[in-house]
């Protein structure tokens, strides 16, 4: 497979990289991704990413949990093997609430997390592209895919340097 050329701007500070994103984008250069050792608030907005809507899978899985729990408790206790315990109804709504609550939380948490793992391609054995091993330590790296950037290599390097990058490296992957 043909290798791809990435231009990497290495920054020392989170505020620097956050400001650099706007500077680079204003010059019409498309950014592949920005990597950081911790979450930088506002970076996704600066990069023009849509809001992460992880609440949607959480809600959908949660509501599935609620429905399954109601189905399980009502069907088993009220239909399949009706049991009267302590004079309660076959399907006493209040006593099913703890089960319904727990299953809602369980499915919402696991469902959302697996969706997250799937979206991010996170699984044991995954072979990630690591542009610079210092990303998970103390450096902030802006990666620009030369083919998709819409600018020349020279212009990108100049733009990165002008935006405050302490190093500009080239990596072929």
């Amino acid at each position: 497979m043909a290798s791809k050329k990435f231009i990497l701007g290495v920054y020392e500070d989170d505020e620097d990289v956050l400001n650099a994103v706007s500077d680079v984008r204003e010059k019409g250069i498309k950014i592949h991704e920005v990597y950081s050792p911790f979450a930088i608030h506002g970076l996704d907005t600066a990069l023009g990413y849509p809001r992460a809507r992880m609440g949607v899978p959480a809600f959908l899985f949660g509501i599935t949990g609620t429905s399954l729990a109601f189905l399980l408790t009502f069907w088993t206790m009220g239909w399949d093997w009706p049991m009267i315990v302590g004079g309660k109804n076959f399907v006493p709504f209040p006593t099913n609430i703890p089960i319904v609550f727990e299953l809602t939380v369980l499915l919402a948490a696991y469902g959302m997390s697996f969706v997250f793992f799937g979206m991010e391609g996170l699984y044991p054995g995954s072979k990630p592209v690591i542009f610079d091993e210092r990303i998970t330590d103390d450096k902030f790296v802006m990666a620009i895919d030369l083919d998709k950037s819409g600018a020349s290599e020279e212009d990108i390097k100049n733009a990165l340097e002008a935006s405050g990058a302490s190093e500009v490296n080239v990596k072929e992957i």
Binding site: Y35, D44, L72, W81, M83, G86, T136
Partner: protein, 454 residues
């Protein structure tokens, strides 16, 4: 522009940089175990082995080696179960509730507290299995179609609610903990070589630290926190319902859910305090687990200790005010009956001892914090003992009144869980970063000494 509150002390001292954080925390994962670690691990293994002998006796020869009798049918087992579940609560509280409240001071302690939660809940679960008598049939507690036809578990039973609550709590805590670990595992992966790189690489699951990943990660963390917050409250509420839904005087009270939750947070924080003070000294992490952290935890211990104090008094008042002679007697008997010493231990350890933290000097003293945290944990064990045993030993029939004396089986099984807990915690502290590097790095600017020295 970051705004730094002038009333807050620094959360990271020693003028650390981002790289220093990586070095300071990763060092313990990458280096050989220290002499202190080996010593404590050896002791923990010995306790686990000794307790393991008694656990074996209980599992395979039955509950006859416990001091239970026909009147006191629950004693140390359920006391230990509720105590361990309570210990587990601080982890989720620190992780979830303090995250929702944007409390930055949680970042240094949340990782270890979450690990503590998982090990404590496993210890609690052990007592459920012990108490079953036939632990190999534990899966009967799950709603599985079984060999007896379609006979299902009884969803009206608080003990089934417990099964759902504890297992959900354990699974969700494990997930929360693991997701929190992923970025830090990637840090360790990127510093490692050889087999270690493969292992940590597999655990890090290909995390790269991209902006899109971080945005989703933050969203997932926040939603998990939102889900875990009612979960943590529900778990101890449901545990309290084991008692509250019964008709035993001393148990059948509506105050139990909030009172149990407050007690759980109280004892959980005390255990976090103990563990973090040990980790702080052994791993020399004084710059991350600062006096400010210790002081803040002590404030929570004082608040929750006072809440349980109010609950004790309220219970007493309501028992007298209810006009029910059995209820009134149960409470008078708690304080003045044959087990008065346990009631006094509970009141002294839980209500009186934390009040010392009203003094700043005491709140910021390492030795005092450690001692009081141990005292609180002892007190909270007694609280559960008082609720369970003093309520049972004097039942409706004076002819069956009795006393409870623990036997070696009770003590041995408790020791087993202690050994298990500390072995797990020490393995965690050796092989995984005890402090959440990514989160500490994120708050470094706004809360470190370096910022104000600029």
């Amino acid at each position: 522009m970051q705004v730094v509150s002038p009333i807050r002390e620094h959360l990271v001292t020693g003028g650390k940089t981002l790289h220093d954080i990586t070095e300071d925390i990763s060092r313990h994962v990458e280096g050989n175990p220290t002499k202190e670690w080996k010593m404590v691990f050896g002791i923990s293994l010995a306790v686990l082995a000794y307790g393991g002998y008694w656990a074996y006796q209980t599992w395979f020869h039955g509950l006859g080696n416990w001091g239970l009798n026909k009147t006191v049918g629950w004693a140390w087992d359920i006391t230990n179960f509720v105590w361990w579940v309570g210990i587990g609560h601080a982890g989720t509280l620190i992780s979830a509730i303090l995250l929702l409240f944007r409390q930055k001071w949680r970042t240094s302690i949340n990782r270890a507290a979450e690990a503590m939660t998982i090990f404590a809940v496993l210890c609690a679960g052990t007592f459920i299995f012990f108490h079953m008598g036939r632990p190999w049939l534990a899966y009967w507690a799950l709603p599985l179609p079984n060999t007896f036809g379609s006979l299902w578990i009884n969803f009206n039973s608080p003990l089934v609610w417990d099964v759902f609550a504890i297992s959900t709590y354990l699974s969700v805590s494990l997930l929360f903990w693991y997701i929190g670990l992923v970025p830090d595992l990637a840090t360790i992966r990127d510093r490692a070589t050889g087999l270690r790189k493969t292992i940590y690489g597999a655990l890090a699951m290909g995390w790269t630290g991209g902006a899109r990943s971080w945005a989703r990660y933050e969203d997932v963390s926040l939603i998990l926190a939102g889900l875990s917050t009612p979960l943590v409250l529900s778990v101890h509420t449901i545990v309290s319902m084991d008692f509250a839904t019964s008709v035993i005087p001393g148990w059948h009270t509506t105050i139990f859910p909030p009172y149990f939750v407050a007690g759980a947070i109280f004892s959980g924080f005390a255990m976090v305090q103990n563990l973090m003070l040990i980790v702080r000294v052994v791993y020399k992490l004084e710059d991350y687990i600062t006096i400010e952290h210790i002081s803040l935890m002590n404030k929570i211990i004082t608040v929750t200790g006072s809440i349980v104090g109010v609950a004790y008094i309220t219970e007493f008042f309501i028992a007298a005010y209810s006009g029910v002679q059995y209820e009134s007697y149960a409470f008078v008997n708690r304080a003045t009956g044959p087990l008065w010493w346990s009631y006094m231990a509970m009141m002294t350890c839980n209500v009186l001892s934390p009040q010392i933290f009203w003094f700043k000097k005491m709140r910021e003293s390492i030795v005092v914090s450690f001692v009081i945290a141990v005292v609180v944990n002892i007190g909270m064990w007694f609280e559960r003992f008082v609720i369970i045993v003093t309520s049972l030993h004097r039942d409706y029939l004076p002819s069956s009144w009795t006393y409870f004396t623990p036997r070696m089986g009770d003590i041995g099984d408790y020791l087993f869980t202690f050994g298990f807990f500390f072995v797990c915690f020490l393995l965690f502290a050796k092989f995984l970063p005890v402090i959440n590097m990514a989160e500490v790095k994120a708050v470094l600017k706004s809360s470190s000494e370096k910022k104000s020295n600029k």
